[in-house]
């Protein structure tokens, strides 16, 4: 039992084919709750749920790339592209809500594909900075093509049929559930082994037959599509878009913070991390929001604290707890 729980949390999961019951149960319960909240919850709950789901997807998407050793400093590129794909197709081609989401999804996938192909030789910090450049570059394009994007003045969603807020909220919940399922599937498939092997050592990975580009493309397409989808949904939620919002570094940073304080390279880490990040963000905003600068100041301190004192995230703590308990029980057995 312990080993099973452990495997679902720890980065070095082993029982590849067995999905622990607890995890399944937890996920199903969380999924049902997520789907019900838009209908039953209070406005605050609905709002927090929406933002948490949004961050969960972004964090999971970022974490997928990171799992393959691809550190993205420009996740807002995907988010922003998705947002623009959503709003432009809705405004110019009058596509309905669901279709615009599909388009955002595809756009993100295509951007991921191009990124993977273009950066096939880059790793580590070099890949990271390319993504940063990608995001800033897209922002400049959006700013400099006002006839298309509305430019810095921004553009409002002018769709003929705006779905109800509840529909948009449900869409985000569904997307979050699908994203988590997607991640679970990836982490329970051969992909998971390829990703970790690539992250550890692309050289050696090749020698046992892994074609890194194939998996790199796969993962950036998936990850890009996920992040783009969030951008697409957010546009229908916010109804307004400008380049600063779309390609905001804040999106990237949040997408990184969540997995790091949750637990990098794990399934539940980004989810836990997102919940905690949203909580900390709201708490600091409510507690210190009336003093200029204070809310981000406190948030910064919390962030620094998390990096210093939770180097392996919440999951790390949990794993250590389970480990030491397992060790304890083993010792007891040995005594007997």
């Amino acid at each position: 039992m312990n080993a099973r729980i452990l495997s679902s949390f720890s980065p070095q999961a082993e029982q590849g084919t067995t999905i622990p019951l607890l995890l399944v149960a937890g996920l199903v319960a969380a999924g049902i709750a997520l789907l019900l909240i838009p209908f039953l919850g209070s406005q605050t709950l609905v709002d927090v749920t929406f933002r948490t789901c949004s961050l969960v997807i972004l964090a999971a998407s970022w974490n997928l790339m990171a799992s393959a050793g691809l550190i993205s400093l420009g996740h807002s590129a995907f988010f922003g592209l998705g947002s623009y794909a959503g709003i432009l197709t809705a405004n110019l081609l009058a596509v309905p809500f669901w279709l615009s989401l599909v388009i955002a999804l595809v756009a993100g996938g295509v951007l991921g594909l191009s990124l993977a192909l273009v950066t096939a030789r880059l790793r580590g910090i070099f890949f990271a900075i390319t993504t940063l450049a990608l995001s800033e570059g897209l922002r400049i394009i959006a700013v400099m093509l006002p006839d298309l994007t509305g430019g810095a003045k921004g553009a409002y969603l002018a769709a003929a049929s705006v779905p109800s807020q509840m529909t948009v909220n449900v869409a985000m919940s569904v997307a979050a559930i699908l994203a988590c399922l997607g991640v679970v599937l990836v982490f329970r498939s051969r992909y998971y082994y390829a990703l970790r092997a690539m992250r550890a050592n692309e050289h050696a990975a090749q020698m046992i037959g892994i074609y890194p580009l194939k998996y790199r493309v796969g993962i950036t397409v998936l990850s890009g599509a996920m992040a783009s989808l969030v951008g697409g949904i957010e546009v229908w939620h916010g109804g307004y878009l400008d380049p600063g919002i779309a390609f905001d570094l804040h999106v990237t940073i949040m997408a990184q913070i969540a997995p790091i304080i949750g637990g990098l390279y794990t399934i539940v880490g980004p989810v836990l991390g997102s919940v905690l990040t949203i909580f900390l963000g709201d708490a600091t905003r409510l507690a210190f929001g009336h003093i200029p600068g204070a809310s981000l100041f406190v948030f910064g301190i919390l962030l620094v604290g998390c990096v210093l004192y939770l180097p392996h995230g919440l999951v790390g703590i949990f794993t250590r707890l389970v480990r030491s308990r397992a060790a304890l029980s083993q010792k007891k057995e040995a005594v007997r």
Partner: protein, 243 residues
Amino acid sequence: MLKLTNVSKSFGGLKAISDLTFEVRPNQFFGIIGANGAGKTTLLNLITGYTPPSEGRIEFEGMPIHGLPPYRVAHCGIGRTFQITQPFAEMSVLDNVMTGALFSRNGARRSLRQARAMCDEPLRLVGLADQAHQLAGVLTLGARKKLELARVLVTEPRLLLLDEVMGGLTPHEIDDLVETLRRVHAAGTTIVMIEHVLHAIMNLSDHVFVLNFGRELYRGTPDDVVNHPEVIAAYLGKPLTEQ
């Protein structure tokens, strides 16, 4: 089975491999020795696609493989270990081996469960079964060398290239490994082995190839090699019997 024709490799001005021609026949146990920097590791890198040869042809089972990327070479049925071990540090020993099982030639058709089932045998063979759940990153050098071997064995290569797998092992472990390799060989795997542990390589190989400054110095049976004056001068220093 493996055939090199006039293969050369230079790094800038340095000619690490010059004009090598040799052939490894099916089910041979082919030993390679040579001084440090003679070009042995470079040779393996050439065969497995990590560095393209400057000149020459490399064929495997009649197919040219020079210029193929490493993963394609691996899919052809060639496995190798690294002299400087390259474990996937954040994965457990078992996961390391499983990765091998999943992505080898036939791996595509295997489920995770099947791949998992294939790992026990190689782990047992190299003596890592006890440590299957440890993180590869914390293994000792010797254990890492064993892991290298297990990870490549599980891919069921037809040609196995070993780069100093015995370095870092105790004499006792070396003896065990010699036995293991003998069995792998007997089961039909062709093996090319680079080794400084002389008694192991002399004992296992049926053919020994001596490399010196990137060139062939001599080749022959182990007994021929250890008694050849040039080999003694370039590599052994003194006749084996005097050592």
